[in-house]
Each structure stands twice: as C-alpha cells, then as structure tokens.
C-alpha cells in the first residue's frame, strides 16, 4: 500500500464528526432547555400561588375591615354611643327651629331672592 493511500484511509471524517457533535449539542441543549422550562414552570407556579395567597389574605383583611366599619358605623352602634354619652348631641327644641319660606323672584328684575322682607317693601312704597 503506498504512503499516499494510507494517509487517505486514516483521515478523520470531520463532516460526520461535526454532524454528530451538533446532534449531540442540540439533543443535550434541548434536554437542558426542557428541564429549565419545567423548572421555570414550577417556580412561576409557586410564585403565582404565593401571590394568589397574598391576594386572598388581603381580600380577607379588607372584608374583615369593611365588616368592622359597618358594625361601628351602624345606626344601632351610633345610637348606643349617643346613649352612653360618647357622642354629645343637644336636641334642638321647637322654639329654636325657623322655617324659611320658599325663595321668591324680585318684582323688577326677576332675580331669585332667598329671603323676602315684605315689611320693608311696604315701607318703601309708603315713602314713595
């Protein structure tokens, strides 16, 4: 066998080697990516669960607070506080209530007057 022929027979098949190496890298990389994705799913799932739990806790706290507020601001509770003197209110007696008449329009301008003083109008007319 000639030297040239021997050299040719022992040549490394680079193309094939690269092909298999690439297949190996892709297969290994794919496997690793799968594991990484799976791991991410679990991690994200745990985070979502934790956030869900936090949200439920917050909702519950909010509801408890709302319930407490409703109880403390209920008519029955306010009355109880008034009865025990916690809220100081003085009842308005009838002689301290003034009922205003409906607003009337001024005769000349048509402007609305919340208070009309008929007496002064009459006195003006007398002077005229």
């Amino acid at each position: 066998m000639s030297a040239n022929r021997r050299r040719h027979a022992n040549a490394i098949p680079i193309a094939s080697f690269v092909t298999w190496a690439l297949i190996g890298i892709f297969a290994g990389g794919g496997g690793l990516a799968y594991v990484w994705c799976k791991n991410q799913l679990y991690t994200t799932g745990s985070e979502i669960k934790s956030l869900e739990r936090e949200l439920v806790d917050l909702k519950n706290k909010n509801e408890v607070a709302e319930s407490k507020i409703a109880q403390l601001s209920s008519t029955a509770k306010l009355q109880e506080r008034y009865d025990t003197g916690f809220i100081k209110l003085v009842p308005i007696t009838n002689d301290h209530i003034t009922v205003l008449s409906n607003s009337t329009a001024a005769p000349n301008t048509g402007e609305l007057r919340p208070v009309s003083n008929e007496k002064s109008v009459s006195s003006e007319r007398i002077h005229e």
């Binding site: 994200t44 979502i48 519950n60 408890v64 319930s67 209920s74 509770k77 009838n94 002689d95």
Partner: protein
Amino acid sequence: MNHTAQKRALFSCFALAGCFTVFSARLIDLQVTKHDEYAKIALEIHGTRQTKPAQRGRIMDIHGESLAQNEPVRTVVADATLINDHAEMATLLSTALGIPHAQVMEKLSRTVYSQALKKEMPSPYIVLKKEVPVNVTSDLSAKLAERKMRGIAFETASTRVYPNEHMLCHVLGYVNGRNEGVDGVERTMDQFLRGHDGFRYSERDRTGKEIFVYRGQERDARNGNNVRLTIDMGLQNIVEMEMDAAIKQFHPKSATVILMQPKTGEILALSNRPNYNPNVQEGVPEDHRRDRAVTDGVEPGSTFKIVTTTAALTEKIVRADTMINCENGYFASFHLHDHHPYPDLSVHDILVHSSNIGAAKLGIQLGDQRFYDYVRRFGFGERTGVNLPGEVSGIVHPLHAWSKYSITRIPMGQEVEATPLQIVTAMSAIANGGHLMMPQIIHDITDEQGHVIAKFPAQEIRQVASKAATDAVRDALVDVVSPKGTAALAHVVGYKVAGKTGTAQKYDEKTHLPSHERYTVSFVGFMPADDPAFACLVLVDEAQVSHDKNYGGMVAAPVFSRIAEKAARYLGLKPTVEEPMGSVMVHNDYRDQ
C-alpha cells in the same frame, strides 16, 4: 465466527427481545388496559376539586347603609392520611380552636373505606371546626409551619353579619349554615342574593401541596347581587326607640309598628316585639322570630270603621253631614252598645266619636254584598303580596257564612281578622285619595358593580274609593285627633294629623266570650293630613295597664305622636299649623270600642 458463537449471539438476542417484549406487554397493560383504573386511583389520591365560594350579596337600606353582609371565616379541615402524630396534633388544635382534646382525637382517628384501594384508610377529609375567625387560623397556620406539621387545611368560607343586631331583624331574616336564606328578605330574595360557586381542578403531591402545572379546568365564582330595601334606617331607629319606650311602659305581650309612604306603598320602617338578634341563632324562641306585621291576624276593631264610612260615602248612600240615629247608646235589634249614648250623629261624627251603632247602621244601609265587596276591595282577606315570607291573608268570612249579626259587627271591626300590614295599607289608600298600593319592601337589586338589574316601582292594585269620599273621611280623621275625638294624644304640635283608634277585646278561651282584661289596641294615622309623608300603625297587644286606660287612644296614640314628631323632623316636614307656644291639648275621651 464459529457455529457455537453464532448460537450464543442468537440466544442472547432472543432473550433480550423476550425481556423487552415482557416489559412492553406490562407497559401496555399499565398504560392502556388498566389506564382508567389507575387513573381513578391517582385522581382519588392526588386530584382535588377546590370550590371557590361565592359571596352572598349585601342587603342595604334606602341610603346604602349595610344591613346584612359577609365576614370571612375559615373552616379547619384535617387530612388524617398526612398526620403522623395524632396526639401532638390534637393537643395543638384543641388549644388553638377551643375543642376538647378527646373530641379532636376521635375526629382524627376516623377511617373511611376506599373503593379504589379496597381497604379502610384514615379519612382524608375531616371537618374540625367551622366559622373560625381569620386571625385564629393565621396563628394556627404559623404554629403548624414552625413545627413542620402537615395535614391541616383552611377552607375559605364566610359568615353572615347583621351590624344592627336586633334592629329590623324580622325584615332581614337570617341564613342557615349553608348560607341559604331562611327567613325575611334573606329568604324571599335568596335567588338574587345567592351567588354561584366557582371551582378549580388540580392535583396535589404526596405532601399535600398543590402541583401548579397540573391545574385543570377552572371557573371563577359569581358573587350574589345586592338588595336595597325601602327601609330608611333613620326612621327605623326612631321607631325602635319608641317601641323600646312603649315596651318599658306597657309591658305588652307583643307590639308592631309600621311606617309606610302612602303614595307609593313603600315600607319606611317596620318593627315588632318581641325580637331577636340574627347574629345569634341559638336559643331564640320560635315565637320571637315571627314577623307579626304579616304573619299574625288581629281583630282590627274601630280602625275598620274607615272602610265602612268610605264605602258608604263612595256609594253616595250618605254624605258626611247626613245624620244617623245612634239609638241613645243601645241598638236593641242587634244587641249593640256604644260606649257613650249618642242620639244622632253625622257620618263625620260617627268616626270622630267612634260610634259602633253608627258604623253598624252604615253597614246595614250598604247591604251585605256591597259592604263585603268593599272589604275585599280594600285588600282584606287576601295577601298584600309584599316580599316578606309567611304572609297570611287574614280572615273575611264569605257571605254565606255571615250570621244576621255580621252586617252590624264587621263594620266596627269585629268578626274579621287583618294583618297589621293590611290595616296600614288600607289607611294609606284613604291618605292618597283612594288608591290601594301594593306594599313594597324592596327598592332595587344591583350587581357587584352597582348596575341596577331589577327595580320595584310603585304598584297600584286598584282604586278602592272616590277622591271625594276619602277627602271626607280624612276630614273626620283629623277631628279624631282633636280634643273632641278619641285620639287627642296622637296630636303633633305644628302638624295636622289624621288617624283612627282601635280597641279590640280578645277572645277568652276559658269563658268562650270576649275578654274584659285582654285587649289589642291600635292607632293608625297619617301626617301631614293634607299631603301625607307617611302613614303609621301602632299596634299593642295585651298592654299591662288598668282596664280604664287600655284603649287605642291612650296606649297606641301617644306612641304614634312621638314617632310622628321625630319622623317629621327627620324628614324635614314643614309645620303647617300655627299653634301658640306651650299650648296644651285637652282631651275628653279616649275610649272607643
């Protein structure tokens, strides 16, 4: 390769192939043939269906004040398959939840038969305690985590809370352990208040933790709708305070007050005694739960004379000034007495003096059929249709069951039974010019976002009387609340009040005769008389007062007066009657029959 080596290689190949064939067969057996069986076992062990509980809707008053709402609580549940040391767990739980140690041990040692495994196994679902406050479960959860103990779960639930406790209890009602309405508006509006639970399918690992990636089908809960009542808590509070004062003063067996808007039929306030706290279900007598305003019929007594008079005036048989012979106090043909002898009274004065003989004669003039028709037209003998449970129709005997005395007894409010709500509804028809309105307790229903999904507008049932007749009756009722009438104590300074007293003797079961000691007294009126803002009924059953004071004009009328005065201020009603400061009403006779 020689022959022996070839044989060995062939044998090895066959052995290997046989091995793989066996493995493959087993794999097919597990994955295909017995798939369903093993999937069922796996699902039983690891799969769960979590319920996402829906929130029950709120009940509010007309101004949005919360009257019934939810408070989150937890149901503590144990999975005995995951608990290693029952005794240690029982010690921890009994301390935290306040349950006896032996009871927890008994619960944790429960077993169930597993159909899949074909054997007894520790129960995976044991309810230890319901309605545990959230703060208690938070502490317990922290302790469990600290000691690395597992097998305890906390299910989200909610409990119904009534912030005003006893107030308005009969209208609101209450719910049972499954959050279903049992009484009151909670019951009648249950289909709107109740939401729809959601769910989530998921799987758990062997430690009981949810495997997020295996979450399956999921549906969110749909919360219930909110119900807004026509009740005004400001007015309800006034009524409750005056009821308490009346109960303290008269110690009656029961009492009812209803405040109604006569033009629309909206119930503004409703209160009964005895009452109860809907937050505490244990130990409440059934008798206290009854909403007497709709479930109890009473003999209306003289308040029923408004029906007789209105009917006679509408039919134009008489005018308000027509004189009726009142037989000087004794109508011999029908064995009928007046409390005071009157020779002749106008139709107007028959109401003012509450003459039984006068009312009976009006009934006779109307005749059985016509009078019966008017009684029914005013809504007696049929349910009003209010959205409250347990309403009765009252009793109005059919014409063929009437005796010869019935036409003289029914016009004065005997031989009939009416609910307090029917009485105030009839009076509202007088107040609004003859329109019988359907009583309303629900204003509207809104969803979670506040969008109105149902409204309950005012509903006229029928025109029951002419405007002229109701005006004439109203004028007479104004005089009833005057010094010459039977209800001077119902007067409210600054306002024109119209109303009618009623005093009904109760039936004595021992003597089978009307009792002279037990009375149902009432006052039903409206204010201001010319443009009524509200109609109010005060009904007191068996007030503990002396015989000579047990009249509607002396027991119920003053309660009406106090309620009406405060209600007028609350509603900002403008006084229409000028009265001298410090004027004192003089009353001469509060008695009626």
